[in-house]
Structures are given as C-alpha cells and as structure tokens.
C-alpha cells in the first residue's frame, strides 16, 4: 500500500514538477528581449523531451558501441575480438539463423492473416464484424508473459500412457499419434515455428485493424467498375484492393518487423533459447546476466542495430516524403 502511495506521489509530483518546470522555462524565455524570446522558446519546450531521449537512447547507444570493442567488464579494449569470436561461434551462427527465420516468416504471416481476417470480417454484419475483430485483437493486450502461460498449456506434454493435458497433444493423440514434446523438436526449426505462431497470434489483430481501415477506404467506384467489367472477386482483391492499400501494408510490415527483431519475452519464457530456438535478443540477455560478458552483449546489440539500418533508412525516407507532401 505504501508503494501505491509512493506511486501516486510520483504521479502528482512528476506532473506538478513538469508543469512547474515548463512554467519556469517559459518565464525564463519571456525575460529575454523580444526576438530572442521567440528564438529560444522552441528549444525550451523541447528540452525535457530531448534530454530524456538523449540520456536514455542517444548517449547509451554510443556507449554501447564503444563497449562492444571492450572486454567483458568494459575495462580494456580488445578491438574486434568480440565480433570475431561471436561470428565464428557455432551457437551464435545458429542464433543469427533463427533470427533471420523470424524476420522472413513472421511479418509476412502476420500480414497474410491480417488481410484474410480484415477481408472476411468486412463482409459480416457490423455487430458480427465488431465481435470477431475484438476477439482477434485481444491477444495484443495480453502480453507475452501471460501468452507464455497460455501457450504452455497448448504445447504441454505428458509421457505416453498418461492423459495429455496440452491441447496440441490432446488432438494429436486423439488421432492416434504418440505424444510429442513439441518445443524440443528442432528438426527444420519446428519448435521455432511454434514460437512464431505465438507472435502471430498476438500481432495479427494489430495488422487486421490497420488493414481493415485501409480496405474500407478503397473507393467503391473502382470496385464497381471492375465488377461491371466482369472481374472476379479474386482478381478484384489482388489487382485493385492490394495496390491501393500498399502503403498500409508496408507500414504494418515495418512495424511488425521491428517487433520481431526485439522479440525477447516469448523465447525467454518458453525455452530460454534452448533446443536451438535462440534469437538475438535472448542471447543478448544471457550474455549480459548469465555469462556476465558486457563486451559480447554490446557486440550483439550493435549487430542488431546494423540489421536494423535498412529499416531505419526506409523509415526516414518515408517520413520525409510525407513531410514534403504535408
């Protein structure tokens, strides 16, 4: 209870403090002679936000970059040693391979499901559409750790002869199969695929909401015209709807991609990277806390950052194009 009180004090204090801070900054600017007031004020309004961003993202990124060339306690520089050792290690190559699989599969699958659901739900009556969408959207609120609890009960295994308590094995044995320890099958990265299903389950609703809004925005006239020309539903969808919602598809793709690259909780909770399911963000955590190796951990996130660069460039370009159009 004392903690709640502390939290409330922090809220009131934080907000009041922020208001006071801005009031002071504003007063400070007003003390300046006319023209200078207008020149300085924008920066004063921006100052707290930029300070937070600088302190929590910009400066640490630079420091991490430096640490990635230092030893495990960041006390001496070792050149490219961390990178060389990681990239030649069989385990890390596996981790990278898994990460690429996630990148290849999940965003595409999320978009495919999102499109499917959005298109189908668009044909329901409004009440039905709303119910279906809410049900599919809900896992987004649930969070990865609770999702872990939920899916442990889907993938659970009991030895042969006992009743199965996991849903997947329940279905599997009902059709005469032997119980399978799903999360330990790394052939063809099957277990990684099962973990990807969880992310798909959580994010399909997000894709659906954005894509559905875009599909509803496609002008009916173009659809009518195509129909009059005798186009089938399939070709209307692929030739008319898809091209018109292209920007939204790209947006969803990028957003899911960013989420995938940071995927930590699902893998950490379900397998902790064992059985050949490791991904880059989990490896980072384990290098940092299990192996206590700052240098490796930093080198891993720097590589993650490098993988992100194309996305970053694309994002900034997209933004500039939009600014120019505004």
């Amino acid at each position: 209870m004392i903690k709640i009180l502390n939290a409330l004090i922090a809220v009131v204090g934080g907000v009041a403090g922020a208001i006071l801070l801005y009031w002071l900054l504003n007063k400070l600017a007003e003390l300046l002679p006319g023209r200078w007031e207008d020149r300085v004020k924008p920066y004063l309004f921006l100052l707290p936000a930029l300070a937070a961003i600088g302190l929590y993202l910009v400066y640490p990124t630079i420091q991490t970059f430096v640490y990635s060339f230092a030893n495990n306690h960041s006390t001496a520089f070792v050149g490219f040693d961390n990178y060389a050792k990681l990239l030649t290690s069989k385990n890390f190559q596996n981790t990278l391979f898994n990460t690429f699989l996630w990148i290849l599969i999940v965003p595409a699958a999320v978009i495919a499901f999102g499109l499917l659901i959005a298109t189908l739900a668009d044909r329901l009556r409004p009440s039905g559409e709303k119910t279906a969408k809410t049900l599919i959207f809900l896992p987004l609120a649930i969070g990865a750790v609770s999702a872990g609890a939920i899916w442990k009960f889907v993938y659970a295994t009991r030895p042969p002869g006992q009743n199965q308590i996991g849903l997947l094995n329940g279905i599997w044995t009902a059709f005469g199969g032997d119980p399978v320890n799903w999360l330990q099958i790394s052939t063809l990265r099957f277990n990684s695929l099962l973990l990807m299903v969880m992310l798909l389950w959580m994010q399909a609703g997000f894709a659906m909401v954005l894509l559905s809004a875009a599909i509803k925005g496609v002008p009916t006239e173009t659809l009518e015209a195509a129909r009059l020309d005798g186009a089938g539903e399939g070709s209307i969808f692929f030739r008319i709807v898809i091209p018109q919602i292209r920007t939204t598809i790209i947006t969803v793709f990028i957003t899911v991609l960013i989420g995938v690259l940071k995927t930590f909780d699902i893998v950490y909770v379900m397998t902790n990277g064992n059985f050949n399911t490791n991904v880059i963000a989990v490896d980072f955590f384990n290098q940092l806390f299990t192996n206590r190796n700052n240098g490796y951990a930093a080198a891993i996130v720097v590589m993650l950052l490098i993988i992100m660069i194309p996305v970053l460039v694309f994002q900034v370009r997209q933004f500039r194009a939009e600014e120019a159009a505004r």
Partner: protein, 310 residues
C-alpha cells in the same frame, strides 16, 4: 521493447475513412445485395476466432480446476464429463496470493505502470507543440532523429544504463524503472503526438496569436484540450507496454517484482505449480484486458492516427 509491442506506430497512410455509417453501405455495394454474408465466410471466420480464443479459454478453465484434475486430465474433459463441473474451485486464486505473492506483485505493477504512463504525456505534448507550431533551425534534424530512434532497439541502452544506475545507487528502485520507461517511450510519444497536432487547424493558432495569446497560453487552453484523443491513445499504448514489460523489470526493478516477473518465476517451476500458473496468468492479464476493452475506440484511433491528416 517486448516482442508484443506492436505499437511502434510508423507513419500510417490509410486512405480517407468512410463516414461512420459507411461500413454497412459499403458492404452492400461491395458484395451481395442480400444482408447476410456467404456461409463459407462465416464458417472460416468462426474457425479463426475459435483458434484465437481457445488457448486463452483453456487457461481460464484450468485456473478453476483442482490441482489433481489439472495434472491428470486435459481441461477439455470437463465438457465430456459434466460431473467435473462440481469439482471446480477458487482455491488456485487464493493460493496465488498466499504462495506466489501475486498481491504484492499486483501492487508493484500498478506502482510501476501509473507514473511511467502519466509523466511522459505532458513532456511529449510540449515537444509535439514545438514541432507542430513553431519554426526553428534544427527542427527537421531533430524530428528525423526521433523517427530514426523509433527503430532503434532499446536493448542498446541497457548495459550503459545499468552502469549509470549502479554508480548513483538507483538500481533496483522504482524510480529507475519509471525513468527507463519514460526515456524509452519518449520517441514514440513525441512522434504520434506531433503527428496528430500537425493535423489541427492552423487558423485556430493564428487567431489565438492575433488575440495576443502567448505560446504557453495557446498550448494550455487550445492545443492540449484538442489533443485529448491522441494523448489517450498514447497513454493506452504506454500502459499496456509497461504493464506487460518483462525485460526492463527483470533488469531494473530489483525487489519490486511486478506481475510479469512473478509469473515468469511460476513458469520456471512447472511440474509442481501448474494450477498456480494458470490463475496467476489470468490474474496478470485482467487489468490490461479491461483497459483495452473499455478504451478500445481510442486505441484503434491511435493506431490509425495520421490517417486523417489533411
């Protein structure tokens, strides 16, 4: 931060929305003139919805079953042998409080989430105002920096922050977690808030200026009230993100174990505590689900923010 965070809202360009009543009209125009949709559409959707709901449903059922039942039979057997309904119990929920300390964890989660959600809003709103209504050198550079940082994985900051907090004795305290979330959430907050403010009518600002209002007054009296929808939707993003966050809590929260960390500990001892896991899992998701369902409209509006821009 988490893989679940689907809200790194990138620029969304949705074509203009149809009017509110448009959905039914469109549907009629698009497809069959009859009011009912084809049977196969309803069947496929029903199957997808079932696949989406059943895993959670299974957890919910199991959380009310006795330990022996949950360990020896599948949760679905409750429907084949209805006598089992009488064996349902609330014991798991009381155990979760007495044995797994979920009550304390719940309070910690609230204590972490509320300040980390409320405090950044005003800070980001001021920055959004500056970006949208003020002209100054460096504006474009700073905006692009923020857009770029949306992509940067927050993991890059963890090692330096750990060292920094360690040197000032902040590790394992609530303020450490608050500040981390405020810093990490700031680019998204500034981005979506200034995106929204850019769509507000410029004439309002101009006329306020003519009336002699300062920027400070314009912000408080006009822009902040007009921006409530986007502030609400950011608050929901941030709330869900912080509530469901595991990584930062594991690293910075120390003894202030929130629900996610408590649940991970239960997940670690599977075999003995499965029925606790189910009750704990359900308990953890109640608050985000209630927040989400009651504020869904704002949430969706935030996701499609930018779609309405002129």
């Amino acid at each position: 931060m988490s893989g679940t965070q689907a809200v790194t809202a990138t620029p969304v360009q949705v074509p203009k929305q149809p009017p509110a009543t448009g959905s039914r009209r469109n549907r009629k125009l698009r497809n069959d003139p009859t009011a009912r949709s084809p049977l196969w559409v309803r069947i496929v959707l029903a199957l997808i919805c079932a696949a989406w709901v059943i895993p959670t449903f299974g957890l919910a059922i199991t959380s009310f079953r006795q330990e022996d039942d949950a360990q020896t039979t599948g949760w679905w057997t409750i429907f084949t042998t209805p006598a089992n309904f009488t064996r349902l119990t609330l014991k798991n929920y009381s155990d979760v409080f007495t044995q797994a300390n979920m009550g304390d964890a719940f309070i910690n989660s609230l204590a972490i989430t509320i300040p980390a959600t409320v405090i950044p809003i005003l800070i980001a709103a001021f920055a959004g105002y500056a970006f949208s209504f003020m002209r100054f050198p460096g504006r474009d550079f700073l905006l692009i920096l923020i857009v770029g940082l949306l992509v940067v994985p927050t993991q890059v900051a963890l090692v330096p922050l750990l060292k920094f907090y360690g040197s000032i004795g902040l590790n394992g305290t609530l303020p450490a977690v608050w500040l981390t979330h405020i810093g990490f959430g700031m680019p998204l907050a500034v981005y979506i808030i200034s995106n929204y403010m850019a769509t507000l009518p410029k004439e309002v600002i101009e006329s306020a200026k003519i009336d002699g209002a300062s920027h400070f007054q314009t912000f408080w009296r006009l822009i902040l009230p007009m921006s409530t929808p986007v502030l609400a939707s950011f608050a929901i993003f941030q709330f869900l993100w912080v509530w469901n966050d595991l990584l930062n809590a594991l690293i910075f929260a120390g003894q202030n174990t929130p629900l996610t960390v408590a649940l991970v500990r239960l997940l670690g001892q599977e075999g003995q505590g499965w029925q606790l896991l189910t009750a704990g899992g359900l308990f953890t998701m109640i608050v985000p689900i209630v927040v989400f369902l009651s504020l869904q409209r704002y949430f969706v509006r935030g996701l499609t923010a930018g779609s309405v821009k002129g």
